[in-house]
Amino acid sequence: MLSELLQFLFSGLTVGAMYALAAVGFSLIYSASGVINFAQGEFIMLGGMSAALLVQAGVPLPLAIALAVLVAAAAGLIVEKLAIEPAGNSEVVTLVIITIGASLTLRGLAEVFLGKGNHALPAFSGEDPLVIFGATLMPQSLWVMGVTLVVVLALGLFFGRTTLGKGVLATSCNKLAAQLVGINTRFILLLAFGLSAALGAVGGILVAPMTYTSYDVGIMMGLKGFVAAALGGLGSGFGAIVGGLLLGIVEAMTAGYISSAYKDAMPFVLILLILFFLPQGLFGKKATDRV
């Protein structure tokens, strides 16, 4: 029975790491702009789809990955430049609707130009599962988890050690004050979108060998990413990772031990319970009203 539990845990961690990568993108943009970017899922889709189609066209895998990340990052920059920046200081709901519009546009373009089929990407390190205490794990899962870990560490360093990273944090804290001390907040916002899109693409590429990819995978990944980010506490990179893993594990455990029919509902029950007691998510900053 230990092997079963372990198998559920592996499943949860693999899926959870995917959610975590999606959630980090949400968190990053939320940090810089206070906006929940509903187009985040489409960056994930763009990464996976571009990589898969490039490989099919005969481009070597590493080059295809690099190009796919660039494609998604470019899409992120375009969305910021053409949709978010002109909207300026609109209300948050307005910005949310704009990102939904951006998401539909990107998905629609993918549908028209990349087609509606499902595509696979070859696994990076073969298809032979590793057996650990009777449970099996695909090498690709290790890639997903490993890269997630690297991303966390890299973001930690970026925010903690670099001026640019601190600039992002300052912008999120108080845009006006950040501008006053000479931070180019427009550049920060552009950076956040480019970086989130690139991160999303990395996630989309990593999971494509296991889950396949198509023009509409962004919807589900985007939703799960938002949930994971909120669970962990919006704007907290660490929270996003924990939220993602927790979400994946709860889903796998529910499917394994309770009911696979309700496995998608369980994370939301969990979220409601958590939010009732911790209104800022697990690791979100507490805000006090100042009057």
């Binding site: 006090t288 009203d289 100042r290 009057v291």
Partner: protein, 251 residues
């Protein structure tokens, strides 16, 4: 009217208000002064129920008021204005004032949906009353304006009108003259006097010493969350601790 006993409030490790006690008698004007960060606004937030005290007691009309919600305190006759304006920019000026009269009108959602006869009449009266109050605080010319079209000084007065619309017994004014020029400050001073004369007990936080000294019957000085001194304007002016706190240790 208002009695504060050993009131303390800590945020995390920071002691914003520490063991403060004072009494406000009915019909007086009471000022709270102190340097920035002395805990004045926190004290207001504790009294008006926005924060819950860490320890200590607040008595309003001889009944406990500590930790009670702002809307229930409003029901009991307490009203206030804010240091950072809290005007509803999504509403017209007069509607902002009418919100102040919220408790005296039918607040049933159903009554509102079906515009029951009694409600329409009361509401029309409320509108006239709000217009009178706007005249009273000196913003009558904004009667048909939207809140977002008003100047900063006018909005400060609008907040006072809204607070008065509740017909409070006790009115707390948080820096009513902040950001105003000389003339405007003088006008606000006259307005506060007028309000007090109409029988409302006033507590105010203010940095403008001239206004404080002119108006106040009693002054409470806070420093680093603690009570530094208390007394009449003349007493406070002479108090060496207050002078030291305001002018720095070098004085």
């Amino acid at each position: 009217m208002l009695e504060v006993r050993n009131l303390s409030k800590t945020f995390g490790g920071v002691k914003a208000v520490q063991d403060v006690s004072f009494t406000v008698r009915a019909g007086t004007i009471h000022a709270v002064i102190g340097p920035n960060g002395a805990g004045k606004t926190t004290l207001f937030n504790l009294i008006t129920g926005i924060y819950t005290p860490t320890s200590g007691e607040i008595l309003f009309d001889d009944a406990s008021a500590g930790g009670e919600s702002p809307d229930r305190l409003a029901r009991r006759g307490m009203s206030r204005t804010f240091q950072n304006l809290q005007v509803c920019m999504n509403m017209s000026a007069i509607e902002n004032v009418m919100v102040g009269a919220h408790l005296r009108l039918g607040t049933s959602l159903l009554a509102g949906l079906f515009r029951l006869p009694g409600l329409a009449k009361a509401d029309a009266e409320c509108r006239d009353e709000a217009a009178r109050l706007m005249e009273f605080v000196g913003v009558g010319r904004y009667r048909d304006a939207h809140a977002s079209q008003m100047s900063y000084g006018a909005l400060k007065r609008l907040e006072i009108a809204r607070a008065l619309a509740a017909k409070p017994k006790l009115l707390l004014l948080d820096e009513p003259a902040a950001g105003l020029n000389h003339t405007e400050t003088a006008e606000i001073e006259a307005l506060i006097r007028k309000v007090a004369d109409s029988g409302v007990t006033v507590v105010l936080v203010e940095h403008d010493m001239k206004l404080v000294m002119n108006l106040s019957d009693h002054i409470l000085v806070l420093d680093y969350g603690r009570k530094l001194a208390e007394g009449s304007a003349a007493e406070i002016r002479e108090n060496p601790d207050v002078i030291a706190a305001y002018l720095g240790a070098s004085a």
